[in-house]
């Protein structure tokens, strides 16, 4: 299957009402060009699963400003005032999830697991409505798997088979979201021929990547 596509075709895969996962940590390792193209195309009533909501002018924060989300799952929204405003005024539902739990829910969603057991959140608001499971006398919260329709991801390099490499602290959520989404689209800083990446340096195998965009260098 040909994975290389262009921005316009890629963002048309996102439909109103979809659940999308977006890679990045405070906009480091976020596919900015995919986000800009999606804002230009327009989409509404989306559900976002992302570590945070970036800044009003960087990362998924730009989509928050464009009012594209009806619901947001994130571990931190404090760097984006608009998310706070929409949350306080009841325009957007925000579910705060501990960061380590969020990545494990995504990993479970992609890897065929029925959930994960964690002590994180016990005795806090995070516990509300969730099943507590006792294992060998220790109490854990059951956190269920998360999946999405589309994942929008960023990598330093992608080969035409979809194998990905990363630089610096950009791996964050980008390495697992592709597995947990029906369709994953990767904006790569550089697209290279098959064989140009040493298999030893591949961090995410191409099996998790459906489409590649040549985003150009940052």
């Amino acid at each position: 299957m040909e994975k290389l596509t262009n921005l316009e075709e890629a963002v048309h895969l996102v439909r109103d009402g979809d659940t999308i996962m977006v890679g990045g940590f405070l906009a480091v390792g976020t596919p900015e060009r995919l986000i800009d193209a999606l804002i230009e195309k327009g989409a509404k009533d989306l559900t976002l699963i992302c570590n945070d909501t970036g800044f009003i002018d960087r990362g998924v924060g730009k989509m928050v400003v464009a009012k594209m989300f009806k619901k947001i799952y994130a571990s931190h929204v404090g760097t984006n005032k608009e998310t706070g405003r929409q949350m306080m005024e009841g325009e957007t539902e925000v579910v705060l999830v501990p960061q380590g739990t969020l990545i494990e829910q995504i990993r479970a969603g992609g890897f065929g697991l029925g959930g994960v057991l964690t002590k994180t959140g016990l005795g806090t608001l995070v516990e509300e409505g969730k099943q507590i499971v006792e294992v060998d006398g220790e109490r854990y919260l059951l956190e269920k798997p998360m999946r999405a329709d589309i994942a929008l991801l960023f990598a330093e390099k992608a080969d035409l088979a979809g194998n990905l490499t990363f630089h610096g602290a950009t791996r964050n959520f980008n390495t697992y979201m592709g597995a947990a989404a029906d369709i994953s689209i990767v904006e790569a800083g550089e697209v290279v021929q098959i064989g140009a990446l040493c298999p030893d340096e591949v961090v995410v195998p191409g099996v998790f990547v459906d489409y590649i965009i040549d985003g150009g260098a940052l």
Binding site: A27, G78, L96, G100, T124, L125, Y176
Partner: protein
Amino acid sequence: MDKKQIQEFIARRVALELQDGDLVNLGIGLPTLVANFVPEGRTVLFQSENGFIGLGPAPEEDEIDPCISNAGAMPVTIVPGGSFFDSAMSFGIIRGGHVDTTVLGALQVAENGDIANYMIPGKMVPGMGGAMDLLNGAKKTIVAMEHTAKGNHKLLKECTLPLTAVSAVDLIVTEMGVIEVTAKGFVLIEQNPEYSLEQIREATGADLIISMGLQKMAVV
């Protein structure tokens, strides 16, 4: 002391807690300052929850790499021997008990070690980020904060704000002293001589046990 001096004073005391070879995670704000005062002769590695071990100082303007930033999105460097990884690995390190010490700020700490530091309902709801995982996973939790907030107690019998974690705090360092969280409650083990015991008691919203071996507050 003005606010900046107070923060530096607290950071200098917290730094004494870091042992040679420790893997340490510092929260945003005051805790980040601790990295500047690691005692000479001790090698401490800093973990950054966005995905690396070996957090180094801020780079020069012309050496900024947009892909290398800390968990507060500020440009940083990575030291020789460091490593990058994804969030699942990062929180495996945190939750799995592989971080020796975490230093966090707090809105409130209770005498049983409960901590509230991620939201004030209706006012400020930034989210917990990685704090809940750090509080559950790190071997030792140090709270670094000013003793009171505009005169209001932060050290309490029970927290009134939503908790970030239950019975998680081991040590509290403020500008007034160093307090251990024990089964009996708050125990003052070091006193900043600028404050009387009476002043420290008044600034604490729970019983304060004075340690038999009370010392003058040490700093780097």
